[in-house]
């Protein structure tokens, strides 16, 4: 099992402890508080991800062969969502990011608990992460 799948499994287990959505939301909000924040200088319009009522900025940079993501949002639940994604995809090799599936999102029950706008936002974030992976992959090779 590679590192991404392991983290995904961890997350699914972590969320399965909670009995109701309320606790899951609280946990998500907590995770949001530990989000690796994007540097202010990267908080540009170019780095905004569309598809959310709230704003999301995301930045990626390469450390050797691993991609490091940082991000921020003006909404705290959105921060939680992106924190989950970053926990899964940050510090990973672009190839692994590109190959990773995203079933864990359904397993956590994230999508059914998010509004469609937010679920769209989530899809956009994953797309963006994979785009970064694609872009940096060529830099490594």
């Amino acid at each position: 099992m590679n590192s991404i799948s392991k983290i995904q499994k961890e997350l699914v287990e972590e969320f399965s402890f909670f009995e109701d959505w309320m606790q899951r939301y609280e946990h998500m909000i907590d995770l949001g508080k530990s989000l690796p924040l994007i540097k202010e200088k990267y908080k540009t319009d170019d780095n905004i991800i569309k598809g959310c009522q709230s704003k999301v900025w995301m930045h990626a940079e390469l450390e050797e062969t691993k991609l490091i993501f940082t991000a921020d949002s003006d909404a705290i639940i959105t921060k939680g969502i992106i924190a989950i994604l970053i926990r899964v995809f940050s510090k990973q090799h672009p190839d692994e990011i590109l190959n990773a599936d995203t079933k864990f999102i359904d397993q956590i029950g994230l999508k059914e608990h998010l509004s469609p706008t937010r679920a769209n936002g989530l899809v956009s974030m994953i797309k963006q992460i994979k785009m970064y992976a694609l872009a940096y992959k060529t830099q490594i090779n």
Binding site: W21, M22, Y25, E26, I29, C52, Q53, S54, K55, D74, A75, I76, I77, T78, H113, L114, S115, R118
Partner: protein, 403 residues
């Protein structure tokens, strides 16, 4: 008004959302539908569904007379001079576009159009398109912090180049009731024509179009306990006659050859194609329903809810209400310090409370306050103080979670 009895008319109000009773506070987006209206739709499709106007047969005659009866009902309800001044549309947006597009043949370069800062996008974008097409100039009535329009500034905008003024009766984002009678009077001094967007006012208090002397008026049934996809446009006969048809098709013509086509008279000239027949008929049932309760009763009760909710919300720490006009309907837009409206809305939703968050299709209002959006609660006559109490509890719980 017996609220418990009224609530029983609305099947949706007994819905549970994740174990909680549904509390529907998104009435400004769309109202809920009483069983009387739902039944009317079923009746139509079960008994006399048929294409109208051109049919010799019985069903077509029944459908036609039910359809035309609603035109009459609208005429009476909104105090309109003539039946043919009532044009069925697919909704407020359609009505506004019909008029704005009609004036693209009439307005000249340099003519002026006035709109307010308080409008819904539906009452802005069609005018931007019109201004672009005709090289006319779009001017904006400014608003102030309380959410009122600046009437002094409005008067200064008016001049003999002003051809059109488009203003909503009530702002959907803040609830402000605009002084449209005065706005219309001032415009008429300069011979400008006024369109009133009644999407948010018609559900909450009686509108008298003869008294207001509006030139055009539009609204949607779906905010009036009626179905989606239907609304109407009122226009003064002489003005509607000056406008070209909006859409070509069946029903709106009197004679068609490839050389020359002549158009039918009002209202048909603007009703091309098979209309939303069941929608019109159900719209009539919705008006009957509202009149059965009484618009004055509705207005008084909703005012009570507004006052109660305003007082309770103000007790919540860090909560700021946007739009505190003296005259307003039961819409409250607010934010809580350092909490994103979208977060608050999401948590409230999880507790079964339906509110709207965001810009409410009124970005200029948000830009005015320099905020990304608000949480908007909007009450209807079937809401209760008990529901408001639960809202306050839920907000306080959400604040704890989100801080």
């Amino acid at each position: 008004m017996d609220i418990e009895k009224i609530r029983k008319d609305f099947p949706i109000l007994s819905r549970k959302i994740k174990g909680n009773d549904l509390i529907y506070f998104d009435n400004a987006a769309t109202s809920q539908t009483p069983i009387q209206v739902i039944n009317k739709i079923s009746e139509y499709y079960s008994k006399y569904n048929s294409n109208i106007h051109r049919g010799v047969h019985f069903l077509s005659q029944e459908a036609t007379s039910e359809y035309e009866l609603v035109r009459e009902k609208i005429k009476n309800h909104f105090n309109i001079a003539k039946k043919k001044e009532v044009i069925f549309t697919s909704g407020t947006t359609h009505g506004i576009n019909l008029i704005a597009s009609g004036y693209s043949n009439i307005l000249q370069k340099g003519d002026e159009i006035i709109v307010s800062n308080l409008e819904h996008h539906s009452n802005i974008v069609p005018l931007q398109m019109l201004a672009e097409k005709t090289s006319s100039i779009l001017k904006v009535i400014p608003m102030n912090l309380s959410g009122d329009l600046d009437l002094k500034a409005y008067k200064k905008l008016l001049n003999n180049k002003t051809k059109l003024v488009f203003v909503n009766h009530v702002s959907n984002s803040l609830g402000t009731i605009n002084p449209i009678k005065e706005i219309i009077k001032e415009a008429h001094i300069h011979d400008a024509k006024v369109l009133i967007d009644g999407a948010q006012s018609a559900p909450h208090f009686k509108t008298d179009l003869i008294d207001l002397n509006a030139d055009f008026y539009v609204t949607s049934a779906h905010k009036l306990c009626g179905p989606t996809g239907i609304g109407f446009l009122y226009g003064k006969e002489v003005l509607l006659n000056e406008l070209p048809p909006y859409q070509g098709g069946g029903e709106m013509i009197s004679e068609v050859t490839f050389e020359k086509t002549s158009y039918a008279d009002l209202p048909h000239k603007f009703e091309a194609g098979t209309p939303n027949i069941s929608g019109v008929i159900a719209f009539g049932a919705a008006l009957d329903y509202l009149n059965g309760i009484g618009l004055k009763e509705i207005e008084n009760y909703e005012n009570e809810l507004l006052k109660y909710a305003t007082r309770k919300l103000k007790e919540v720490k860090g909560l700021r209400i946007f739009g505190e006009a003296k005259n307003k309907i039961s819409v409250i837009s607010f934010n809580i310090e350092s909490i994103h409206p979208y977060d608050l809305g999401s948590i409230l939703d999880k507790m079964g409370i339906a509110v709207r968050t965001g810009q409410h299709c009124a970005q200029p209002v948000m830009d005015f306050y320099q905020i990304p959006g608000t949480v908007r609660v909007s009450f209807s006559f079937y809401n209760t103080k008990k529901e408001i109490d639960f809202l306050i509890l839920a907000i306080n719980k959400a604040i704890k979670m989100l801080s």
